[in-house]
């Protein structure tokens, strides 16, 4: 198989340059624009008043913040420490699509209208005919001092774990139902996909009805994050489908 020569690509692009004349033109335009925006700014005396007002607001905000921190420490000293340790974020995305969301309680991930695409190394649902679009949902977890992660699928679907050694080199493993003791690294990604038997069932119905999708393919997964000090914290995520058969991902707690 022929490989693309990225060195050649780099060398070719190095030859694509902007002429000095063109640079001069742009510089002249920018200078003109810069002068006109500078002239449009407010006079200095007004700035002084604004600066004074800003200082008062800043001081007042600072006092408020300090008193808030002080009172929180008095009433909830141990609790706050525990909470900060438990803080982690989950971002969900459909493999390869533009979607990112960390903290909202629920959101829609649009399905791709085209045929099922399976990322390299990921599960094969080869029996699928070209009508069903089922894609891998990826979950990225971010947090400090996380050691291990357990993921459990209530409806016995497939859980993926991809570990990236570099940006180009990675390994994907998957298990049905639950995947425990996943060694957490910054470069690991979790994934979820319906199991092939459930996809087969949907195919047998020969329909793309969202109710059928929800009957066979919806799931609830529990992600348990273990911290290095032994504390652990769980998050439940429901996966279902809207009327257009898009994925609906909902963080339950």
């Amino acid at each position: 198989m022929s490989n693309f020569d990225f060195d050649k690509y780099k060398n070719s692009y190095d030859k694509v340059t902007v002429s000095d004349e063109r640079k001069e033109e742009i510089i002249a335009l920018m200078k003109k624009e810069n002068n006109s925006t500078d002239n449009a700014t407010k006079p200095q005396s007004q700035n002084k008043v604004i600066t004074f007002k800003r200082t008062i607001v800043l001081v007042a905000s600072l006092v408020l913040v300090i008193s808030a921190i002080f009172s929180l420490n008095l009433f909830n000293h141990t609790e706050s420490k525990k909470k900060s340790m438990q803080k982690f974020y989950i971002s969900a995305s459909l493999a390869d699509l533009d979607y990112k969301n960390s903290n909202s309680n629920s959101f829609v991930i649009s399905k791709e209208k085209k045929m099922l695409f399976l990322d390299e190394g990921n599960l094969a649902i080869n029996a699928v005919d070209n009508r069903l679009s089922i894609r891998l949902i990826q979950f990225e977890i971010e947090g400090k001092k996380i050691s291990n992660i357990d993921v459990k699928s209530k409806n016995n679907n497939r859980i993926f774990y991809t570990s990236y050694k570099s940006d180009d080199s990675y390994q994907t493993n998957s298990k049905l139902g639950e995947y425990n003791n996943i060694k957490y690294t910054k470069n690991s990604v979790l994934g979820w996909m319906p199991s092939s038997d459930k996809v087969d069932k949907v195919l047998q119905t020969n329909t793309e009805n969202w109710r059928v999708y929800n009957e066979y393919l919806s799931d609830e997964i529990t992600v348990t994050v273990y911290y290095s000090d032994g504390v652990y914290y769980s998050k439940d995520i429901s996966i279902s489908f809207d009327k257009n058969c898009n994925y609906l991902v909902h963080y339950i707690n």
């Binding site: 198989m1 022929s2 490989n3 693309f4 020569d5 990225f6 060195d7 050649k8 690509y9 780099k10 070719s12 692009y13 190095d14 030859k15 694509v16 340059t17 902007v18 063109r22 640079k23 033109e25 742009i26 510089i27 335009l29 920018m30 200078k31 624009e33 810069n34 925006t37 971002s91 995305s93 493999a95 390869d96 699509l97 533009d98 979607y99 990112k100 990322d119 390299e120 990826q138 990225e140 991809t162 990236y164 570099s166 940006d167 180009d168 080199s169 990675y170 470069n187 990604v189």
Partner: protein, 187 residues
């Protein structure tokens, strides 16, 4: 296997000067304008060309991006920010330009294929292979392999997850292989 080249982007020499300005809180004077254009104009132009496959449009976009920089100078806060801001705005402006051009020039399929051939003919063969990729793949490929940005930086610029970036890089590379194979077979 990491196929990236072991080189630093050509912006290095000039960028030190730009950084000194930023440490003092970005005084957007004429000197800084000159330094920014000399440092980043090639980068902006190449990104626009990568998306638009057309030198004239890329030129227009480059000018637009730099004028926007002046108008938005108050938003530029750090030395890293200026480069990333330019990359992001270059991508967005190029996308808008592409949409605008598409709307203006609604042509038949046969005309489209002819125009794409003439577009790529004036550009180096290796570059045009990447240009043949869909936009969602060629942009990360260019940013990663040419601009030497990390997956994390690309993820922030494009507003997608890191795994999304990796996935696009992987698919983009596979598509490039397919393009090469097709071209080899045609020969």
């Amino acid at each position: 296997m990491d196929q990236r080249f072991g080189y630093k982007p050509s912006v290095g020499k000039h960028s030190d000067k730009v950084y000194k300005h930023s440490e003092k809180g970005f005084i957007f004077d004429d000197n800084l304008i000159e330094e920014v254009v000399n440092t980043y104009s090639d980068m902006v132009y190449r990104i626009a060309l990568n998306i638009l496959c057309n030198r004239e449009d890329a030129n227009d976009v480059m000018q637009d991006v730099f004028l926007r920089l002046v108008r938005n100078k108050s938003k530029i806060k750090s030395k890293e920010h200026i480069k990333h801001w330019l990359i992001k705005v270059s991508i967005n402006c190029s996308k808008s330009k592409a949409t605008e051009s598409y709307k203006k020039n609604t042509v038949s399929i046969s005309e489209i294929s002819e125009s794409s051939i003439s577009c790529t003919n004036e550009i180096d063969e290796t570059i045009s292979s990447v240009m043949k990729l869909p936009e969602k793949y060629k942009v990360p490929i260019h940013l990663y392999y040419y601009q030497q940005l990390t997956v994390e930086e690309i993820s922030k610029i494009l507003g997608i997850t890191k795994s999304g970036v990796r996935s696009r890089l992987s698919r983009g590379r596979n598509m490039l292989k397919e393009i090469l194979e097709k071209e080899d077979n045609n020969e």
